[in-house]
Amino acid sequence: MDISLSVPAERERLDDLTVAIAAVMERHAIAQPVIDDVVLIAEEVVCNAADYGFDAGQEREIVVAIRAAEAALHLQFRDNGRPFDPLAQPAPDLDADIDERPVGGLGVHLVRQLARRVDYVRDGAYNVLDVTLDLTPSETGDAP
């Protein structure tokens, strides 16, 4: 599996992206819980880029690359939005009284928790977010 998909960074394009990603992962017999995690991560990252990443009128693009290798699934998100390092965000205080907690601010936390590993770099005009997830050994990622 070695495919990359690109859409305008707008909420309306999210489902084209996730439907395509899910279809490819199904073809490679990736387990449903992993597909769910990937779709969730894509939703969080793409919606954040769409909501916060761009000035009005700016050309907005986001690319997701998926690669399976060994027992890992590698996702890379690349967008041309304003510099944003999600790893520099403070984690939400989940141990605070549940009724006092803010209702939002959970997306970045979810991405970090579901992934085995997340790396961020700013590469020229691009935010590049590398997200690695675990695959069980039976998910080869190399369908016939």
């Binding site: 909420r11 999210l14 489902d15 819980p33 769910d36 779709v39 969730l40 939703e43 969080e44 919606c47 939400p92 989940l94 141990d95 549940i98 009724d99 907690r101 209702v103 939002g104 959970l106 997306g107 936390h109 979810l110 928790q113 579901l114």
Partner: protein
Amino acid sequence: MHLEIQTAPRSGTTQRVALFGRLDTHSYPQLDAELAPVLDGGDPPVMSLVLDLAGLNYISSAGIRSIFKARKALTARNGKLLVVNPQPQIQKVFDVVKAVPMSDIFTSVAEADAYLDMVQRKVVSGDEDE
């Protein structure tokens, strides 16, 4: 293909709402709209909201936010939000963000009803803990 919501007839101060499909960034406004009258109150106001998630396949942070908002509205008037039968993906997301206390998650509607009955009896007989 997205979110379907079934709101049961109200039973006393308890309201049951069943969700089917996907609760995500596209569909959460639908849930917010459906829950608005429930959370607004009525006379007497709804005190227990039971969310039946057996048919929900997927939730994202946008969906969590909606449930969280509902929970806050209820606890503000000493009401309760209970969650029934979350599927594994939903349970996992709930766990990661601590969206609902473990003690408010039940594996069946019957179990949630029994719990609410018990709380109700305590209130009526005046021996509630707090």
